[in-house]
Amino acid sequence: MAGAIWVVGEVGPDGALARISREVATLARDLGAAAGRDVAGVLVAPPEASGAADELAAYLPRVLLVEEPSAGTDVAAVPVASAVAALVARDEPAYLFLGATPDGRDVAGVLSALLGWGVLVNATEVGWSDAGPTVGMSIFGGRLLTTSAFSGGQGIVTVRPNTATAAEAAAPGTVERVVPGQPGTVLPHVRILERVQESAAAAALEDARVIVAGGRGVGGGEGFGLVQELADVLGGAVGATRAAVDSGWIPYSHQIGQTGKIVKPQLYLALGISGAIQHKVGMQTAETIVAVNRDPDAPVAEFADLLVVGDLFEVVPELVNQLRARSG
């Protein structure tokens, strides 16, 4: 497997394979075909979540499964990265691909320290040249696209959600249970004392195909009920600006922008959002942007595909009704 491309799978809180891992596996499989390199998955999971390896094998010819109880009881980054680093030492793959999710970033950071490998982050396109992967990413909040490469023949890539469309392989691959050797460096684990669930499991914001987001113009927590209603009818997730979060209308986990999440949905519906640059940098790579705003001169008017100049409290209920009528 020397020189292979590996996908490091991520297990969600429900014990199933994270959606991002299906996308990354699809991307890596296509890349391997273009590069003439072997592609395999690695999944480090507690025994009760080992079924995620079979899910990953639907996308890849071969999956290495490490059953690691501490990946369920402790923060996953250290047990996952330690096991992957030990397998890298044994099998000598060249490139590791992960999702650019909170957990994926943590694993990538620990792996880069353990292996001494470079990391290219937030890939939105991945190609191949003679020397290895070429990784496209956007910087300065989407104002510039760069293409980067690794200087040596190895590296770690984190891939943004919605970069590839997940597609299963023609035939499922094999799952091999492996026991990695002792890691060269033993890192401290961090125990999870308790998992607190505050809201129903919703599609992760970064994964959502449709995001309906609210800003200052939504006016309060009640207004977010309307945002949620529209998101529900479109099968989407709810996002927010920093102003809405700072006002306590919605938790920080929904924030999009400079100090929140970066998203790239198919549709971004901006309600009562002026479109200040701190918000724009988190969402301007959305495929389609529709805005509802009373102010025709708000900055969002410059980068929305469709702008409705009007009162969101009149337009949104109407929109919800018409969408329901259409699907009903």
Partner: protein, 261 residues
């Protein structure tokens, strides 16, 4: 209690940021500011200090250009006690793992109980350096903290998850990554600004840290930018000014045209 906050100067998010001909950030184009997420980390440190009745000592640790003291000074004005700047011409063009090695080597020269970092930086948004530093130093790593409680020998963190949070605890010394949920960063007071002028910012070269340009920095960067280009321009905005029922009808039609619904 000794706290180190990792602080990165970044180009201000003005929409004017750019790369130079060498495909590195053009620092002359835009004024530098404290990376916004690092301000939350510093705010977190200041709140932990206040919760201990002022019994804490906060050091800002920066890897950056020779002009970085201007940016560090604002952090000192917010209430940190001193700055340590690692600056060396050989570090221009350093990659993420080089940055982590340099910060790790600098931490080895400091006494600390807790290291705080921001989630990511507003320029590259990689978010991998803090985890790498923790791994290089062998520190427990507690990321995405929505809240931090500091005891004398341990730290407890609520790590934000998609549906709530996980409660984590680790012995000190440890590395914690703070999020915006920690709370709004304070503005420096006039007294803070005046006081910051006399606070020390110690500068260290690579040699001071026992590192060489063969181990870290631009010459041994593991990644390189091949090209940079602006994204494709968006099409002109279609503006709808009709009353709600007609406006909504046009939105539905637009979404259908684009096969979103």
């Amino acid at each position: 209690m000794r706290i180190v906050v990792l602080l990165k100067p970044v180009p201000d998010t003005t929409g004017q940021e750019r790369l130079g001909p060498d495909l590195r950030v053009d620092r002359a184009a835009v004024p530098a500011v404290i990376n916004p997420n690092d301000e939350y980390a510093l705010e977190g440190a200041l709140r932990l200090m206040e919760a201990r009745g002022g019994d804490a000592d906060i050091t800002l640790l920066t890897m950056g250009p020779a002009s970085a003291p201007e940016t560090i000074r604002k952090g000192l004005a917010m209430g940190a006690h001193r700055g340590v700047l690692v600056s060396d011409p050989a570090l221009e063009g350093a990659c993420a793992i080089s940055t982590a090695r340099v910060l790790s080597a600098a931490l080895a020269t400091l006494e600390f109980d807790l290291v705080l970092a921001g989630v990511d930086s507003s320029d590259g948004r990689g978010g991998v350096v803090a985890a790498a530093v923790a791994a290089l130093r062998g520190l427990p790593y507690l990321s995405y903290a929505g809240s931090i409680e500091l005891g004398d020998t341990s730290v407890r963190v609520h790590r934000l998850s998609a549906t709530g949070y996980d409660v984590l605890e680790a012995p000190l010394p440890a590395m914690v990554v703070a999020t915006q949920a920690i709370g709004e960063p304070r503005y420096p007071s006039l007294k803070g600004i005046m006081g910051a002028r006399s606070k020390e910012i110690a500068t260290r070269s690579l040699a001071d840290l026992g590192l060489s340009s063969h181990e870290v920095g631009g010459a041994v960067a593991t990644t390189r930018v091949l090209e940079a280009r602006p994204p494709a321009a968006r099409a002109a905005t279609r503006v709808v000014r009709d009353a709600a029922p007609e406006a909504a009808r046009q939105v539905v039609e637009f979404l259908a045209e684009r096969r979103i619904i």
